[in-house]
Each structure stands twice: as structure tokens, then as C-alpha cells.
Symmetry: C2
Subunit: 239 residues, 2 copies
């Protein structure tokens, strides 16, 4: 899955766009793919705005969220490197996206994406796979929000994050083998899990008291008992 460094600048970028990319196509891609940097907290895609661009994250983490008119917020997911953003059914985005930390991404206009899709046959299939993955993850999150308790939600979140860190070692620093980095604060985690920041803090305390996790410095969590975490996440441990 990791492409050779030779293609374009960022391995994730070429991988995400069209897999094994040929040297002769680089020039063409460079014309339609624009690099961007976004500072933490900056919103680069807003709900209900015209969906003119697609984005592919190359580094950092992006928070995706929806808002109700009175300000209630639901974080619908986090986009990590390799993620593809910007699908919209009705011509406008259905969610907003803001950088959780320093984010690099590349932008492709709606017009150009169609050319790319037509020219790079395997790209369409890849996008289809990405969307399919994302839908599967969204459905898992529906189960979480609809039927899990606060403790189960937090355990699920930490478990999933740990899995992702396994799948993509870039997330994990060598100094903390079992540590996962949470680039978002408790407010954001709360909005993701349908809870409040107080409840997130309390449940974090419950897991810490049970020696299942421990604090590994700012923004870092050490998972000490992953089996226990997974059992809680699946509701197999009575509260």
C-alpha cells in the first residue's frame, strides 16, 4: 500500500489518488493537484457551501463535523492521511472540516476530478473502496451512538484508534510502543462520541482506575490491557 517515494512528493498522495502511478503521468497530475497547508483549528470546508473541491489528506488529522442550528455539534469522523474528502450528493458539502493539528492536503477541483476518474481507471475503483470503508465505519459509529454506554463508547474509540495505529505505524512514536496519540481535546472526543467533555473525563478515569489505560503525557494514552478494552467496547463486561 505504501507507494514509492519517487511518485510526486508524498507517498500517501500518489497512493491515495491512483496507486501505482507511472512516471509519465506525474506532470499531468501536478497540474490538477494543488498542495495546501492548514493551521490547527482552521476550517477549510464548510457545511452547505458549494462542493467545488475534493481533498486528500497527506499529513495531520482533520475533524469532520455537522452542526445543528442551535450549535449542538456532532463530529462524524476524523480524516487521517490518505483520506479522501468532499463527496457531496446535492452540490453542497454535508459537513464541515477543520484541522485538528497541522494538516497538509491536496486539493482537486470538482471539474478536474472527473477527468482524473475517466483517465485513471483504477482510481475510480480505489475511490469506491475508500467510500465503502468509510460507510462501514459510519455504520459502526451508528451502533456506538445508538446503543452503547458512555464507557463502551470511550473504550470503542480508544480501541479503534489503537487498531489504526497498528495499521499505520506512522502514527506511533517508537518511544511509546503502546501509546496512541489523540490530537484532539476532550471536547472534540465528546462531540464524536455523543457525550460531554465531563463524561469523557470521568470515563477516562474509570479506565485508568481499572488499570486498562494510563496517561502517557499530554495528548497520549497508553493502552495497558487491550483485551479488557475490547471486551468493554463490545459490551461484554457488565458495568
Amino acid at each position: 500500500m505504501i507507494a514509492s517515494e519517487k511518485c510526486l512528493r508524498c507517498p500517501v498522495r500518489s497512493t491515495a489518488i491512483c496507486g501505482g502511478i507511472k512516471q509519465k503521468d506525474i506532470a499531468r497530475l501536478s497540474k490538477v493537484v494543488h498542495d495546501m497547508k492548514v493551521a490547527p483549528g482552521d476550517c477549510f470546508l464548510e457545511q452547505d457551501e458549494p462542493a467545488d473541491n475534493y481533498f486528500i489528506i497527506t499529513s495531520g488529522t482533520v475533524t469532520l463535523f455537522k452542526l445543528l442550528p442551535d450549535g449542538r455539534r456532532q463530529v462524524t469522523g476524523f480524516a487521517d492521511p490518505g483520506h479522501f474528502l468532499g463527496f457531496a450528493n446535492g452540490g453542497t458539502y454535508g459537513f464541515s472540516a477543520e484541522a485538528a493539528d497541522c494538516v497538509s492536503l491536496c486539493r482537486i477541483s470538482r471539474r478536474d476530478i472527473n477527468v482524473l476518474l475517466a483517465d485513471f481507471r483504477d482510481m475510480e475503483r480505489r475511490v469506491l473502496d475508500l467510500l465503502s470503508d468509510e460507510l462501514t465505519r459510519a455504520q459502526e459509529q451508528l451502533l456506538l451512538l445508538g446503543r452503547k454506554t458512555a464507557l463502551e463508547r470511550l473504550a470503542s474509540f480508544l480501541s479503534t484508534r489503537t487498531e489504526q495505529a497498528d495499521a499505520w505505524p506512522g502514527y506511533r512514536t517508537e518511544s511509546a510502543r503502546d501509546g496512541i496519540v489523540l490530537p484532539m481535546n476532550n471536547d472534540t472526543i465528546a462531540d464524536y462520541l455523543g457525550l460531554t467533555n465531563e463524561t469523557v473525563s470521568r470515563m477516562m478515569g474509570v479506565l485508568r482506575d481499572a488499570r486498562i489505560i494510563s496517561r502517557g503525557g499530554r495528548n497520549r494514552v497508553l493502552v495497558r490491557d487491550r483485551d479488557a478494552l475490547d471486551r468493554i467496547a463490545l459490551g461484554e463486561t457488565p458495568v
Copy 2:
């Protein structure tokens, strides 16, 4: 969007698969597309089973759901005619599907779908659009489950169902212009909205007392004040 009756047996079927289908391709499609009927309550696709088939609903409504080990159930959505089921990232289905009422569908094996996708160019794009729609709807549902009250959830559900009835008039009987049909019982609605059947019943009563809806016979609801319904759905009406 409605295909001509001449293509295959079901207009929805040809539309869903590959849009304007040519006469000469019908024979080929018929070889890989198998028709099926499913009785109400029957489960034809089970979570964690090998994802060997894709399905396209041609009539009726299908309930999609996920289960926790202890039996808690979350309905992740309803698949109406034209919907495409069976995407799986890890080789197994991520959810189960059972017929809500009498359902007709066609089955395409995983092997055959790849041939179809390769041969019918516009099919891949159509599937991509369907997936994109579905993801958008899933995100809307995340907002509902994470941040809306019981009343707001039910109002959202009824509002969305009404919109769908507008978009596809087949849903609506001419005898009840504003009536929508709910082919699922309160238990299923509850599992969809992350509530209990008692709460669904109570909130239905609240909307009825407020003259926003009224009962239109079994499985049928009349929406009397759609604006009010939408305002509640968006949380713009203080409880």
C-alpha cells in the same frame, strides 16, 4: 431516472444497475443477475458472513442492522427499491439485512460484479454516487443519534420519510396525499433512532397531540404540519 419497462422485468432494476441499458446487453445481464423473493422477517444477509453477493432491491423495504453480543440492536438504515447492498471492506458483511415487508431483489455474485463494473463504464460511477449518498445519509444519522432528543429524532425520521415519498411517488397511495407508509413496527423504528418502542410511542403521541401528525390507518401516518415537523427535527422548537 425511471427506466423504460422494456429493459428486463423491473424498471428499478435496470436503472439501478446501469442506467440506460441497451437491448443487446439484456441477455448478458440476465445471466449474472438472479431474481429473489424474501418473506417479511427473513434475513438474507448476515453480519460477519462472507460477503459473496451484492443485492439490489427492486420492491419492498429492507431493514439493515448491526448487533452487539448481548443482543442490543442498531438499525443502520432502510433499503428501499433501487438500493444497492453488500459492500464489505474485509470480505465479510458489516451488518445484517432482513425484509421489513415482502421484498423482491436481485442478487449478483461478487465475481460477476467485477465483470459488470468493468464492462458497463457508467455503472461504476452510478455505484459511486449511490455510496456517496448513503454516506451522506449515514452522517446525518450520526448527528441524529449523537445530539438530538427523542422528539427531534422521531420528527427527523418522519420528515425524511416524507421527503422520500415526495421523491419517489410510488411510495404514496393516491388515496392519502400526505400519508406516508411505515412498513416497520415501533420496535424497528426505536432501534433505528436509538430509543425504545415505548419512547417512540410516547413521542408519536406528543406529535399527535400537537396536531402535527395524525394516524392514517395501520402503518400509515398523515403529516398535517410539515413545517412544524421540520422545525422540531432541526431543534428549532424548544421542547
